[in-house]
């Protein structure tokens, strides 16, 4: 076995070990704790630690939980400002602290006492939106072609049906993937990201919904042009202390992960803050390129846990079962002479308070 294969084998072994370790039942585990809310912001990169073979060391268990408190697009009240002012920041630190303290109370024996899984905010950031370019912090408009596609795209459990088979569900519903960038954008839970490095390789494990990537750093050519994949084909290189990953061969199905190339940049800006930037240039979908910038943190004791999504995904079976029950109810009503419209899947309920059937704009959308 040559050295390269040995390296790959060891990297994989490490990744599998991490996954197995994360998957073990945890007895008496205290919840992920965070130190007091700090005033993290963009800061000068200190001396980045190095691996024994000399690469910048990005390894660790990271989470976008703290970034969940930053909206994807910039709210109107912060128009023209990429960062909160001192007064706003002070108020946000207080809000984040309250949410975190509520989450930490569960460590006092009150298990299951919160219903807000997004409360694990251990650092407060001044950033007013995850989208940092264009300068207005807004997602660029979709192209007319993409708008047409979006109208036809399956919305699955978040849409209004009808649901007749697996293809009526999105990639996220179906536990397929959130894509290269979508698997990093912060969600309401499951925000763990593990980074493991070996000589010539960087491996990523995204908790939700189980993606992993093993990225060679040796400049080898990409796969052939005709090979298209959900997670594409990634190659990395170092630019100073920043890992730059170029991903090609994308099939364009997951959100934020289309076009000829996605460029991601990973920089350890503080010992416990990793800055992730993704530059998306997908002219078929968006009218201009844009950049998403996400801070990942590594609170003491934080663990990336298993999210083997296909293990027991009963959501499709249940949603399809609900639709078949509605088929029967319609038939029965018809026999009684009642002619009525089919009940929409959301049945009067909005998700996150949105009106029924209204588009829910989120990173969870998949085309």
């Amino acid at each position: 076995m040559n050295r390269q294969l040995v390296t790959v084998a060891w990297t994989l072994t490490g990744l599998i070990a991490v996954m197995s370790w994360a998957a073990r039942p945890v007895a008496g585990q205290s919840p992920a704790t965070g130190s007091k809310t700090t005033t993290a912001s963009k800061s000068a990169s200190p001396a980045t630690p190095r691996t024994p073979w000399g690469d910048p060391d990005l390894q660790g268990s990271w989470t976008t939980d703290s970034a969940y408190a930053i909206p994807m697009q910039r709210p109107q009240q912060f128009a023209g400002r990429a960062e909160l002012n001192d007064e706003e920041f002070k108020a946000k630190v207080e809000t984040d602290t309250k949410r975190r303290e509520r989450a930490l109370k569960i460590g006092d024996g009150g298990i299951g006492s919160i219903s807000e899984d997004a409360a694990w905010i251990t650092k407060t950031f001044r950033q007013t939106s995850l989208i940092v370019e264009p300068a207005d912090g807004k997602l660029p408009p979709l192209t007319p072609e993409a708008q047409r596609k979006q109208q036809l795209a399956p919305r699955g459990t978040y849409g209004n049906g009808p649901l007749d088979g697996p293809e009526d569900f999105g990639l996220y519903d179906r536990c397929i993937t959130l894509g290269v960038v979508g698997s990093v954008t912060p969600k309401i839970y499951g925000n763990g990201h593990r980074i493991v490095q070996g000589p010539g390789y960087v491996a990523f494990l995204n908790e939700m919904i189980h993606e992993h990537r093993i990225i060679p750093l040796d400049g080898r050519p990409h796969a052939g042009r005709n090979i298209k994949m959900y997670m594409g084909d990634s190659r990395g290189h170092w630019e100073g202390n920043t890992l730059v990953v170029e991903t090609t061969n994308l099939n364009g199905k997951p959100n934020y992960s289309g076009g000829e190339k996605v460029i991601e940049r990973f920089t350890r800006v503080e010992p416990d803050v990793l800055r992730y930037e993704a530059i998306i240039d997908d002219p078929k979908t968006y009218t201009r390129p844009f950049t998403i910038s996400i801070p990942l943190v590594s609170p003491p004791g934080y663990q990336v846990l298993a999210y083997d999504c296909h293990e027991g995904n009963k959501a499709l079976m249940q949603a399809l079962g609900g639709e078949r029950a509605e088929d029967k109810a319609l038939d029965q009503d018809l026999k009684k002479g009642i002619v009525r419209a089919r009940k929409p899947v959301q049945n009067g309920l909005g998700v996150g308070g949105s009106p029924t059937g209204a588009p829910v704009v989120s990173e969870a959308d998949t085309r």
Partner: protein, 138 residues
């Protein structure tokens, strides 16, 4: 000054509220908000599977008939981060679960609040699904 501070608080609240509140799967596609259900029973198995864990429950009806129910909970890693562990719901534990029945009429439900015999309550649901009893603040 007070007014100014209040405005700042409103701004920050909006900033937090503007974050997407989206769980993996929507409640409304699978469960019926018009069919709330309370199950009193004994845990036969806690299934720690992704993307949602399931509590298997034996429920004795007044006529002596036994029904086997399955109750969907939040994601296992979310439960673990809330402080649950493998010993939280051992087989044989008597519990009451409040939730909502599956739309397909099967003996499955989406669990929200779980109460032990000693009155201690746990939230077992998945957050961000749009379930009718969802609470963002507690």
């Amino acid at each position: 000054m007070r007014t100014k501070l209040s405005l700042v608080t409103v701004g920050v609240t909006l900033l937090v509220a503007a974050a997407p509140v989206i769980a993996h799967h929507s409640f409304a596609a699978e469960f019926d908000s018009a069919q709330p259900i309370t199950l009193n029973g004994t845990v036969t198995k806690m299934e720690w599977i992704n993307p949602h864990a399931w509590i298997h429950l034996e429920v004795k009806k007044p006529d002596g008939k036994v029904e086997n129910w399955e109750v969907e909970t939040g994601n296992p890693s979310a439960l673990i981060r809330r402080g649950f562990n493998r010993n939280s719901l051992p087989a044989g534990t008597e519990i009451t679960v409040q939730g909502f029945r599956a739309k397909d009429g099967g003996m499955r439900a989406n669990g929200r609040d779980l109460t032990f015999k000693d009155g201690k309550k746990l939230f077992v649901g998945s957050s961000g699904t749009g379930a009718p009893d969802e609470r963002s603040e507690k």
